[in-house]
């Protein structure tokens, strides 16, 4: 495997320290961009690289930047989405804590490209250590003139602020994040208008995920062609896969985009724990459909996943073995969404509540046969019917569990509870 880009700390110890980072070509890409390229040229290169957003939706970064209005006299903001709260997802945290400067350099280049002079890193409230890492790294970098006024003598100014989040999953939704940054409750906004047009303080704003921004320096340094050569052309680049659950070696693996899921689970994460059989995988955090063992030959990239009705999401892979009760697993997933729904839209506020209630009922053995269809109908009505896609994020996995493991749900009704009850280990948290 080539050298890590995103998890470079695995190759270069202490890369989070500025002197080490500088000694390993740190900020060279930023210097190159600021002193030799025009902002449009930077955007063009990122567009050419086909870098797609790593926050979950996979939207092409360069295209998003291109949506900024050309003729606006308002300031432009960059918000780095470091709220990482998706279940089974822990990739951004690694970058923030261990490879801090690559993120800051990515922010610097991106701000230059989009002509933003203020950037906010919105970091999940619980990441106290990560916030400290960022503050320290920023202080060091400011000390060297890498941020602030007239960076690299290019005349470009940039201020970066670290903002600790407000402790809710919904703060990671980009418009919820913006509201929260403005000091309000994180109620997602109706789109359109999208943040690129009407974002932070009503000004044009780009929101990008940590991992997305951390890819940017390598594109400038090695060129878009290099980037496109890593994995599939339509969505290439280095990618962190985070594997958790019933595997021998849970952890993070930086690999090219488009790795077969089977290889990630069996070759990198050491296969199913204790030699058990695989039962199900949630390959994309918890917000997307679940996969069965016969679907894991899929390649982990945006388009291949879509082709089988799944999503890449955050590539947080949650592995479940043969002993897992799928009703209980889903109950845990839906408990999460019920707890995290911001509560503005009635289909989501009410729907997530009802999904959870009905699943608890099934799991406890008090479910009725019609409950399964009711769950399915609620899901149908939640999807595409709310301000943000949290409702979809709850409904999609739910419907996939029902479809792919229907027998198990029916069995909970007919047998008045979980048939696997005595069969040991249940996942504590998905």
């Amino acid at each position: 495997m080539a050298e890590n880009v995103l998890l470079r700390h695995e190759d270069v110890p202490d890369i989070h320290k500025l002197d080490v980072y500088l000694a390993h070509d740190g900020y060279a890409a930023a210097r190159q961009a600021l002193t030799t390229l025009k902002p449009e040229e930077v955007t063009a290169q990122v567009k050419e690289s086909n870098l797609r957003g790593r926050g979950g939706a996979g939207f092409p970064a360069g295209v998003k930047w291109g949506f900024l209005p050309k003729d606006s006299d308002k300031p432009v903001y960059l918000c780095c989405n470091a709220d990482e709260s998706e279940p089974g997802t822990f990739k951004d945290r690694a970058i923030i804590e261990k490879n801090t400067h690559i993120l800051l350099e990515g922010i610097l280049i991106t701000c230059y490209a989009i002509n933003a002079h203020t950037a906010y890193i919105y970091i999940r409230g619980e990441f106290a250590y990560g916030a400290k890492c960022l503050e320290q790294a920023l202080a060091e970098a400011y000390g060297q003139g890498l941020f602030g006024k007239d960076i690299f003598g290019s005349g470009f100014d940039l201020e970066v602020y670290v903002h600790r989040g407000a402790g809710a999953y919904i703060c990671g939704e980009e418009t919820g994040l913006i509201e929260s940054l403005e000091g309000k409750r994180a109620y997602p906004r109706i789109k359109p208008p999208f943040p690129a047009v009407y974002g932070l303080f009503g000004c044009p704003t780009i929101v990008n995920n940590v991992e997305t921004l951390a890819c940017v320096p390598s594109i400038i340094k090695n060129g878009p062609d290099w980037f496109r050569s890593i994995g599939p052309e339509s969505g290439p680049g280095p990618k962190i896969y985070g594997v958790s659950g019933h595997v021998e070696k849970p952890g993070m693996f930086e690999l090219p985009m488009g790795m077969p899921l089977r290889e990630v689970i069996y070759d990198y994460a050491g296969g199913i724990k204790d030699g058990k059989q695989l039962k199900a995988v949630m390959p994309a955090g918890s917000s997307f459909p679940v996969l069965t063992p016969d679907e894991i030959d899929v390649h982990m990239d945006f388009d291949s996943m879509r082709a089988i009705g799944a999503f890449l999401g955050t590539a947080g892979i949650i592995v479940m073995d043969e002993d897992t009760c799928m009703v209980r697993a889903l109950e845990i997933v839906d408990r999460f969404y019920h707890h995290e729904s911001c509560g503005q839209c009635s289909p989501c506020r009410e729907g997530t509540g009802w999904l959870h209630k009905l699943l608890v009922r099934l799991e406890e053995g008090n479910g009725k046969a019609e409950d399964i269809d009711l769950i399915d109908r609620i899901c149908t009505n939640m999807m595409g019917n709310t301000v943000c896609v949290l409702a979809d994020a709850a409904a999609m996995p739910t419907q996939s569990y029902l479809t792919k493991f229907r027998d198990e749900f029916v069995a909970h009704v007919t047998e008045g509870g979980c048939p696997l009850k005595k069969a040991a280990v249940q996942p504590e948290a998905a």
């Binding site: 809710a168 919904i170 409750r185 109706i190 019920h338 707890h339 995290e340 729904s341 911001c342 509560g343 503005q344 839209c345 009635s346 289909p347 506020r349 009410e350 729907g351 997530t352 509540g353 009802w354 209630k357 009711l374 109908r377 609620i378 149908t380 009505n381 999807m383 595409g384 019917n385 709310t386 301000v387």
Partner: protein
């Protein structure tokens, strides 16, 4: 044909297969409704920002995966929208079912929108079990909170935060626990709620509703009318059953757009208060009049006896007639009221002028804005506002000076706050930091009494920095040099220590005002009620003139009128030196016109003003009065003086709803009618003439005021035959040319029309002075103002400055509002606002009884902490008869406007440790 801009063109789209159009800015939901298709909706309400949260309104748009919330989606050309497709219906029904399962079955309102839609879409009993329900909250006197009926639509929150900008209601917690809260989850009654009731009006389910289940009674009728309180002139609807008002709702009037404040919405039951006068009363013989008012308004039988109308009217008119015949008309005077209708004001002044034969007729405008009016007439030839409150939406800079608009013009203040939220520069200038200051970009807490210093320093800056509008000055004004010389000595740096505002701030505000594309100035009685009130107003006018900030939309001067009909009562001629429409009585030609109209010869001499009338009584020059709906025994400065005068009158006729402090001095009291009991027009602060319609019959033998005035007139030898209110209005319209285009029938169909309005098809002129000013030569005049001090400055003996004013809940002297159960429950006791540090220095605590003494009197009331005051300033509302602030105030007058200095006198403050708290 002129080209229509792209954005103003209607869009055509397919609605359920039918080609329809949407007007610019219209959403799918609104356009569909206009075309007769009602899409279910719950969180959407006209006038509120669509929030798109309930999703009952989703529709299917061809080619889009998600369903679209029709309440926030603007249709695009050619879009195909299905409102009842299976998928859309399915989702709409699921939303209704889920919400229905949440709420209890109890009905809190007759018109629950949830139930209406559930019925329309045939939702059966929901399949979901109910949630755990919150406890009811009955802590507020006017509003019942039953969140077990809440569907989390946040309409109340938007009404509270975005419409009225009170920021009380919040939405707490997450997901299915999310709930409506007041402040930090306080009971509503102890929250910072101001009781405007906008949330109740917004709530679709009755989770918030009028207290005592008023919303559950089916009214006999609803009557569209006007609020009886302040000059904002909110239009409202009375819901009436069995001759009582059940509840009041806001109507989409031009100055309120459905909004009301606590007075307008909940202050209506004064009319059925047991103190209400229902029979004429005559003073028992031999009962002396004393300045100590001891009469019990509930049972005045020690002092008064009941009489028939015939006897009372004969006695009332007979007493006045005798004085007129023996001592001449100048021995009589009348006080009309700015609470009465235009027709009443007109007829009353006509009675005094033609029946008494004197111009001694005045009303309380004298006490509010007389100085502003003098300055405006002298400077720009008209006392009315140049622009309406609604213009804040078009202004870029808004100055509010000497006005506690949030309490005294509450609904107008909401529009100012909306403007501030929309990014306009709001500048609040006031010695007392009021609620509005919270929303201001600049808040200038200048020292009391230093308005001229501050305003002249602004003008100094504007001239010095070359920000004057030269062309405007040259073409449309005269006397600029006088101002230039005058303000030369008023640099912000020199004025900083005088007014207490940093020079740089003065400069910034001056620049902002002068350079904004449109600037408005609003002012209240903080400006006018000084012995330099006219000077203060002159400065404001000069500011507008030198910068050309007048005569355009969103650009002008607006003295906020206090009472609901101050503007109209003045227009109608309740002014001693002017006939209707400000025609001077000493102008020969004018007088001849009115003599022709009224068919009698008229007194060529200007009459006496309010305070002068009191002086004349004490001087033995004036012996009889007719007072209609005014309460000088509470509202005049230095009440002892006023009360002594009233006690000295040989004959006093009072026409009122209650036995007011003034009525206590009466020889005869005529029971009159309240606003909801009569039809008439009222002219609000915006120059809008608005129609109030009779909703109730007056109680007992109480009679319509217009009838009473006519009965009095006949007994004074005038042969008046007005069949109805319309007849009086139409005669008045002949005397007031600006009402030319506003016929009675037009008012009946339109409810509200702005004057000047010259013809029936003239929409009225919201902005005046666009081309010239109504002065003799069309040109405005600068009048310089020097710095003079208040008449009575604090000293070692009386070290505090007393500012008097009003409270949100109480109106003027409290005659009505203290008898309105809700209002009196919210503010039941007299208070004295004190700076917290002053209170500590006095060794007092909030709620202690404080005694305030001035050179003229002494009162005792409860201490209330008010950090908005400056040190050594106290504020007392003047509505409490048991602690009448005007016992303390100074009757010193502004030499031009003859307005007393209510806003400044010296007092002593001490904690009263003897009285029982």
């Amino acid at each position: 044909m002129t080209a229509v801009p792209e954005s103003a063109k209607p869009t055509s789209f397919l609605l359920d297969g039918r080609a329809v159009d949407a007007l610019p800015g219209e959403t799918i939901l609104q356009a569909a409704r206009r075309h007769g298709v009602d899409i279910p909706h719950l969180c959407y309400k006209d006038g509120l920002r669509p929030d798109g949260n309930c999703r009952a309104c989703v529709v299917e748009v061809k080619g889009e995966r998600p369903l679209a919330p029709s309440c926030c989606r603007i249709p695009q050309e050619g879009m195909e929208v299905a409102t009842t497709s299976e998928r859309a219906r399915h989702s709409q029904k699921m939303v209704l079912e889920l919400l229905l399962s949440d709420v209890v079955e109890t009905t809190y309102t007759l018109g629950s929108e949830l139930e209406t839609w559930a019925r329309a879409l045939e939702i059966d009993t929901p399949r979901f079990a109910p949630r755990r329900q919150p406890e009811p909250d009955a802590s507020h006197p006017a509003i019942a909170v039953n969140l077990d009926a809440c569907i989390q639509c946040t309409r109340c929150q938007r009404a509270c935060r975005e419409e009225q900008v009170n920021d009380v209601i919040g939405y707490a917690l997450r997901g299915s626990q999310a709930k409506i809260i007041f402040d930090v989850d306080d009971p509503m009654g102890s929250s910072s709620c101001v009781g405007c009731g906008e949330c109740v009006q917004a709530c679709p389910t009755g989770a918030l509703m009028p207290a005592k289940e008023a919303g559950l009674i089916e009214p006999d009728k609803t009557v569209d009318s006007v609020c009886p309180y302040c000059g904002v002139g909110c239009l409202l609807t009375y819901h009436v059953k069995d001759n009582t008002i059940l509840q009041v709702t806001g109507r989409d009037g031009p100055s309120n757009h459905g909004r009301l404040c606590v007075k307008g919405r909940y202050g209506f039951d004064y009319i059925t208060h047991p103190h209400r006068l229902t029979r004429p009363l005559i003073r028992k013989s031999g009962i002396p009049k004393s300045t100590e008012i001891t009469i019990d308004p509930a049972d005045p039988s020690d002092v008064f006896r009941e009489a028939s109308w015939e006897e009372a009217l004969d006695f009332a008119a007979g007493g006045l007639k005798k004085i007129r015949d023996e001592k001449g008309g100048q021995a009589l005077a009348g006080f009309g009221s700015a609470k009465g209708s235009n027709e009443e004001a007109y007829l009353f002044q006509k009675l005094v002028r033609t029946g008494f034969g004197t111009n001694n007729v005045d009303h309380c405008t004298r006490l509010c804005h007389a100085s502003s009016v003098v300055a405006l007439l002298e400077g720009i030839g008209s006392g009315a506002v140049s622009n309406q409150v609604a213009d804040v939406a078009e202004a870029e800079c808004i100055i509010v000076i000497g006005s506690n608009a949030s309490e005294n013009h509450p609904v107008a203040a909401t529009f100012m706050k909306n403007a501030a939220k929309a990014g306009k520069t709001l500048v609040v200038m006031d010695p007392r930091r009021t609620e509005l200051a919270r929303h201001a970009s600049y808040y200038l807490q200048f020292k009391p009494d230093t308005d001229v210093a501050l305003l002249n320093a602004m003008m100094h800056t504007i001239i010095e920095e070359g920000l004057v509008h030269q062309e405007f000055i040259e073409q449309r004004t005269a006397g600029f040099d006088l101002i230039k010389q005058n303000v030369a000595g008023f640099s912000p740096e020199e004025m900083e220590p005088v007014c207490g505002i940093a020079a740089e701030t003065i400069r910034e505000v001056a620049r902002r005002y002068a350079t904004a594309s449109g600037s408005m100035i609003f002012w209240g009685m903080g400006v006018s009620q000084h012995i330099h009130g006219t000077d203060n107003a002159r400065c404001l006018i000069a500011l507008a003139l030198m910068t050309g900030q007048i005569g355009r939309p969103g650009t002008g001067l607006h003295p906020l009128r206090g009472q609901n009909n101050v503007q109209g009562a003045s227009d109608a001629g309740l002014i001693p030196m002017m006939f209707p429409e400000y025609q001077r009585v000493d102008n020969e030609e004018v007088r001849q016109r009115f003599e022709a109209l009224w068919g009698v010869s008229l007194d060529p001499q200007a009459g006496l003003t309010v305070v002068e009338i009191m002086d004349a009584i004490l001087d033995d020059r004036l012996h009889g009065m007719y007072i209609m709906g005014e309460n000088p025994a509470m509202s005049d400065p230095n009440l002892h003086h006023a009360r002594q005068a009233l006690a000295k009158l040989d004959h006093l006729v009072v026409q009122d709803l209650f036995l007011t402090e003034t009525a206590a001095f009466a020889d005869v009291i005529l029971p009159a009618s309240a606003l909801p009991e009569k039809t008439g027009t009222f002219t609000n602060t915006d120059r809008r003439v608005q129609l109030a319609r009779k909703a109730l019959d007056p109680p007992g033998q109480a009679r319509q005021d217009l009838d009473i005035i006519q009965e009095m007139a006949r007994r004074l030898g005038l042969d008046w035959q007005y069949h109805d209110t319309a007849a009086v209005y139409e005669e008045m319209r002949q005397a007031i040319s600006a009402l030319g285009g506003i016929s009675w029938s037009r008012l009946e169909s339109q409810d509200s029309v702005t004057y000047p309005c010259w013809t029936e098809d003239d929409p009225g002129r919201p902005v005046v002075f666009q081309k010239d000013f109504p002065t003799s030569d069309g040109i405005a005049r600068f009048v310089p103002a020097r710095l003079i001090h208040a008449d009575e400055l604090p000293d070692a003996e009386f070290p505090f400055v007393l500012i008097t004013g009003r409270q949100l809940e109480h109106w003027h002297t409290g005659a009505m509002t203290r008898r309105a159960s809700v209002l009196n429950a919210i503010e039941p006791q007299p208070v004295i606002n004190v700076h917290p540090e002053d209170l500590t220095a006095l060794d007092g605590a909030e709620g202690d009884l404080l005694t305030i003494a001035s050179r003229r009197g002494e009162i005792t009331a409860y201490a209330r902490v008010d950090a908005g005051l400056q040190r050594n300033e106290i504020f007392i509302p003047f509505c409490y008869q048991e602690a009448a602030a005007n016992l303390l105030t100074n009757e010193a007058l502004d030499p031009y406007g003859k307005i007393p200095e209510f806003k400044y006198c010296a007092v002593r403050v001490s904690v009263n440790r003897t009285a029982e708290a």
